[in-house]
Amino acid sequence: MIPSALSRPAVAADLPFLSAEPLDLVGLLAKSHHPEAGAVVLFSGEVRDNDPQTDVDYLEYEAQEAMASKLIRQILDDACEKFPLKIALAQHRVGKVGISESAVVVITASPHRAEAYSANRYIIDRIKHEAPIWKCEYFKNGTKEWGGNCNCQKITGDANKHVYEWTEDKK
């Protein structure tokens, strides 16, 4: 499944952007090599158990699936416009996710490593800030808490304006 002879890189058209099953990191990585890509970067966002207050038992992710899938595709397309990528893929988990399991994976491949890192952060930052996907932490004491990762509008005053880490790379 090495994408070849494409004017635009493979945005993993056959990969669903959301998955109710465990993410197959090693399977995706095994397919993410390209003869013109000297650098492959994989990011996996995983469930931690060290919440400062109470221990996390598991997480559950909910999505507005149609909008989330469309947005992830758009983010990958945008990444391919901004960076010279040979491979760009992303998949986010929905449903119950246990400790140390992957909630989201992003793989980028490009001729040189600077772009592979920058594009990878671009994609994950936008997914985390913009995709209509929500995390609910279920704690061992029986309580739960909906996540609030993206509080950008408290800073920017605009639900459409986000503060991204990846912009630090662009100086």
Binding site: G45, Y61, E62, A63, Q64, A66, M67, A68, K70, H92, A103, V104, I124, I127, K128, H129, E130, A131, P132, I133, W134, K135, C136, W146, G147, G148, N149, C150, N151, C152, Q153, A159
Partner: protein, 77 residues
Amino acid sequence: MTIQVFAVLKDYFDKEFEIAGDLKNIAALKQELAVQNPQAANVLDLCRFAVHDEFVDPDYPITTNDTICIIPPSSGG
């Protein structure tokens, strides 16, 4: 019209419910929901609204056949 809510909004509303009445646009819908459930008013202020899976502005006109999604700030990853 049919309302679908997500994530923390489910602590305040049913996941999917019908709402009747003469609501001409998204802003009017939001106000009506805040009146029905004042505790949800702060959360609703942070949300965006979508019709046919596209985000819409407060002045977007709505009709009784529409399905409207209320989208809290993202917290994926």
